[in-house]
C-alpha cells in the first residue's frame, strides 16, 4: 500500500513538473527574422541573439532564475548584412516568447551597446511560421554628465537623486512606464546634495542613448520648500544636463 501511495505521489509530482516546463510541438519549426542596426543606421555583424519561451508573462532578468524557468528555443547571430534568421522550436505552452540581443556573457557581446530585450514576440503576427521583427535598433551606451549649479539661490540646500536603466534596454519601454524599472537588476540610481556653501556638483554615469533619466530634487531650508520630478530625455541633451537654481 505504501509503495502504491509513493508511486502516486511521484506521478503527481511529475505531472506538476511537466506542466511547469515548456513543451515543444511535434513537426514544427519557427523562424525569427530581424535586421540589426544602430541609431545611425549602420548594420551590425556577429551580434548574438537568444530566443526564449517562458511560462510566465514577464521574463526573468536574473540569468540563473531565467534558466530555471524559461527555455531557450533558438539562438544565432547576425550576418555581415545585419540580418538575423534563427530557426526555433515551437513551444506548446508558452505565455511569452522573447529575444535577447547582444546579451552579456556571450563572447561576441559588445559592451558599447546596450543589451536589448524584445518581449512578447508571440503576440506579433505569425506568418508562414515566421516572426519578423523588422529593423531592430541597438542603442549605444554613452557617458552622461549631471551638473547641479548654484546661481541665484544662495540659502537653500539642494538634495537630488537620479534613476536610469543600468544597461538593459527593453524595447518600447522607458523607465517611466517600465515594469522592470522597479527591479534592482535593471535600475541604477544616485544621490547628491549641494550645501549653501557649495557652488557646483558633477556626476558622470553611463546611460543608454535612447533612455530617459528620472531626476528628483528638493530644496531644503528648515524643511522642504520645493520639490519636483524631471524627466531627462538623453537624446535631447548633448551628453549632459545642467540643473541651475
Amino acid at each position: 500500500m505504501k509503495k502504491v501511495l509513493f508511486c502516486l505521489f511521484v506521478l503527481i509530482l511529475l505531472a506538476f513538473k511537466c506542466e511547469e516546463e515548456i513543451q515543444f510541438q511535434d513537426n514544427q519549426r519557427l523562424l525569427l527574422k530581424a535586421r540589426l542596426v544602430n541609431s545611425e543606421g549602420n548594420l551590425f555583424e556577429n551580434i548574438p541573439v537568444e530566443v526564449f519561451a517562458s511560462r510566465e508573462y514577464y521574463f526573468q532578468l536574473n540569468d540563473q532564475i531565467r534558466n530555471d524557468f524559461d527555455e531557450i528555443i533558438g539562438s544565432g547571430s547576425s550576418n555581415e548584412n545585419g540580418d538575423i534568421s534563427i530557426t526555433a522550436l515551437k513551444p506548446r505552452n508558452a505565455s511569452n516568447i522573447y529575444a535577447l540581443f547582444n546579451f552579456k556573457g556571450s563572447q561576441a557581446f559588445q559592451s558599447e551597446f546596450a543589451p536589448l530585450i524584445v518581449n512578447f514576440i508571440n503576440d506579433k503576427e505569425l506568418r508562414n511560421n515566421t516572426y519578423d521583427l523588422g529593423t531592430v535598433v541597438l542603442d549605444k551606451v554613452q557617458p552622461f554628465e549631471l551638473i547641479a549649479l548654484r546661481k541665484t539661490n544662495q540659502t537653500d540646500t539642494l538634495q537630488y537623486s537620479w534613476r536610469y536603466n543600468r544597461g538593459v534596454k527593453i524595447e518600447g519601454s522607458n523607465p517611466i512606464d517600465n515594469y522592470y524599472f522597479f527591479d534592482n537588476d535593471v535600475r541604477e540610481s544616485g544621490f547628491n546634495e549641494l550645501l549653501p556653501t557649495d557652488i557646483l556638483k558633477e556626476n558622470t554615469f553611463n546611460v543608454i542613448e535612447s533612455d530617459t533619466i528620472i531626476f528628483d530634487y528638493q530644496l531644503i531650508n528648515n524643511g522642504v520648500i520645493a520639490s519636483e520630478q524631471l524627466q531627462i530625455i538623453v537624446n535631447e541633451q548633448s551628453g549632459s544636463f545642467e540643473f541651475e537654481f
Partner: protein, 215 residues
C-alpha cells in the same frame, strides 16, 4: 552514462556476438561439407538480417549539416513470395548528436528511425550461396528529439533502395553487406525559407551483418 555511450557499448557487445556466431557458423559449414545435403537451398521460407548500420547523411539539409551521426542497427525480415521475389519489413535506427543548434534548433540529440515495407528481387538463382538482391521500399522516418529530458518528434514519409550482397555459410546462417539509400520527406511545418533545409533528407546507410535463413 549517457544514451550515446550506452548505444556505443551495445555495439561492442553486438560485435562480440557477431564474432561468436560467425565462428560457430564456419565450424558448422565444415561439418556440413563433410555430410553433403544437396537441395536445402530450395527450402528457404524466409530470411532475416541483423547488422551494423553506418549511416551518412549527405546534401544540404539539417541532418547532413547539423548532426554528427553515430552507427546504428539494421534489422530486416523477408519472406519468399516467389522464386526470386522477397517481401519484407525493415527497421533501421541510429542516433545523432546535434552539432549545429543554430541550424537544427536547441536539441541535444535525436534518435533517427526508419521503418520500411519492402520488395526485393534476387538477381542470381537461389541455388547459389552467393546472392545479390535489389530491394525497394517505402515507410516512415521518425526523429525522436531530446532537449534535456523533454522529447518531441518529427515524422515523415520515407523511401529506400538497396543492393544486398550475401553469402550463405550453412543451412541457416550467412552474412551480408547492404548498400542502401534512404530518402526522407519530412512533415515538419516550417517557413518556406527552410524548405530546402527541412524538406527532404538523403541518408546513405550501408550495413554489414548476419543473415539468417528460415527453412
Amino acid at each position: 552514462m549517457n544514451n550515446l555511450a550506452l548505444l556505443n557499448l551495445s555495439f561492442k557487445k553486438m560485435g562480440v556476438l557477431f564474432l561468436v556466431l560467425l565462428s560457430y557458423a564456419l565450424n558448422a559449414q565444415e561439418d556440413e561439407e563433410m555430410n553433403e545435403k544437396p537441395g536445402y537451398y530450395y527450402d528457404v521460407i524466409g530470411q532475416g538480417k541483423i547488422g551494423f548500420l553506418v549511416p551518412s547523411a549527405y546534401g544540404n539539409n539539417f541532418i547532413a549539416d547539423g548532426y554528427d551521426t553515430w552507427n546504428g542497427v539494421n534489422i530486416e525480415a523477408q519472406v519468399n513470395a516467389g522464386e526470386r521475389l522477397l517481401l519484407g519489413l525493415q527497421f533501421q535506427a541510429f542516433k545523432g548528436r546535434v552539432m549545429d543548434q543554430e541550424l537544427v534548433g536547441p536539441i541535444n540529440a535525436s534518435s533517427i528511425t526508419h521503418f520500411f515495407v519492402s520488395a526485393g528481387y534476387s538477381l542470381l538463382e537461389n541455388k547459389n550461396d552467393f546472392q545479390i538482391e535489389a530491394t525497394i521500399g517505402f515507410g516512415s522516418a521518425t526523429l525522436r528529439n531530446e532537449r534535456d529530458f523533454r522529447r518531441f518528434n518529427d515524422t515523415g514519409f520515407a523511401m529506400m533502395a538497396s543492393l544486398n550482397f550475401s553469402y550463405r555459410l550453412n543451412y541457416w546462417l550467412g552474412f551480408y553487406i547492404g548498400l542502401q539509400n534512404n530518402w526522407d520527406f519530412w512533415s515538419i511545418e516550417r517557413p518556406s525559407e527552410l524548405d530546402s533545409v527541412f524538406g527532404n533528407t538523403s541518408i546513405f546507410s550501408p550495413s554489414v551483418g548476419l543473415k539468417f535463413y528460415v527453412l
